[in-house]
């Protein structure tokens, strides 16, 4: 299992009855689930600008990695995230792409107005994959603001 590293809760006030930011629905989370959950938890804990998005986002986001045949569902519940192994029903958005592109998505820079930057090398690569069908986002058009919020939470840049 991946270890998201030290200081997970470094910035947030912690009280005894406070929920953890990220929980896992399965008793044995997959490596991919642990990695995404750990990444988001570390991001939100250490980056104040991500807290607003995390606290206000209510959406179920599926992510399927096509070249490892594994996926997760991220249930954002306004300040809490539950990570499920596999794709669950009732998803708002589903992202299907390869492992490399998952890494690129998490490296998208966030530009003015909180919008992901698609004009630098990484952004252009992501956009090209979207156009070529190597990155598929189901539910994109009606949920573009949600996708932008997820990208901001997910981005390590």
């Amino acid at each position: 299992m991946h270890d998201a590293g030290p200081c997970r809760m470094a910035r947030r006030k912690v009280t005894s009855d406070q929920h953890r930011l990220v929980e896992y629905a399965d008793s044995e989370p997959s490596a991919f689930a642990s990695m995404l959950g750990g990444l988001i938890e570390a991001n939100v804990s250490s980056r104040p600008e991500k807290e607003h998005d995390f606290d206000s986002l209510v959406a179920s986001v599926g992510m399927w990695v096509t070249d490892i045949d594994e996926g997760v569902t991220l249930d954002f519940m306004g300040g809490r995230l539950v990570v499920h192994n596999g794709l669950m029903a009732g998803r708002t958005i589903t992202i299907r792409t390869d492992a490399d592109t998952v890494m690129s998505l998490s490296n998208l820079k966030i530009g003015p107005l909180g919008l992901p930057v698609y004009y630098d090398a990484i952004g252009r690569g992501v956009a090209a994959k979207l156009l070529r069908g190597r990155l598929k986002i189901e539910g994109l058009l009606p949920n573009i603001l949600t996708l932008n919020a997820v990208t901001r939470i997910f981005s390590v840049q």
């Binding site: 299992m1 991946h2 270890d3 998201a4 590293g5 030290p6 997959s30 490596a31 991919f32 642990s34 990695m35 750990g38 990444l39 570390a42 991001n43 250490s46 990695v65 070249d67 490892i68 594994e70 492992a99 490399d100 998952v102 890494m103 998490s106 490296n107 390590v156 840049q157």
Partner: protein, 140 residues
């Protein structure tokens, strides 16, 4: 000339490959943490004892790469652990390291946002591994 897998000679050749790579140099700009690779023993593959590779990497340069006990590697800022045969798969391009980490075949310990930020550097470092000719103990 091939060197013994995960030996001191291998470490030296690997360090040279990393320092020859302009791709690594630019992708790892700003990197300032140590990385430990734990190669777990697989006696049936003629790799009887776990080894630790400690990489002192700084700002696009490999300052030092040493091979020693697994415990040394476990003290690094980032630790990647896998059995011998998995590392062999990585070094022979049968397993992509990024996929391996997402699948849990390579176990990663350390700050995830940092390692994700340097994905390109770690991919290039994997490429450097594949350029070192290796004598594998289970192929003798």
């Amino acid at each position: 000339m091939a060197v013994k897998a995960f030996s001191s000679e291998w470490a030296s050749a690997f360090k040279d490959e990393v320092n020859k790579s302009s791709n690594y140099k630019s992708a790892a700009k700003g990197w300032k943490w140590t990385v430990g690779l734990v190669v777990e023993a697989e006696p049936d593959k003629h790799f009887p004892e776990s080894k630790g590779i400690v990489m002192d990497l700084f700002d696009g340069e490999a300052r030092d790469v040493t091979v020693g006990p697994a415990g040394d590697a476990q003290k690094c800022d980032f630790v990647i652990t896998a059995p011998y045969s998995r590392w062999k798969e990585v070094a022979t391009k049968q397993l992509d390291a990024t996929k391996g980490m997402l699948q849990g075949k390579l176990k990663l310990k350390g700050d995830l946002p940092t390692i994700v930020r340097y994905t390109k550097a770690s991919q290039e470092m994997t490429e450097c591994t594949t350029r070192v000719p290796v004598e594998w103990p289970d192929e003798k």
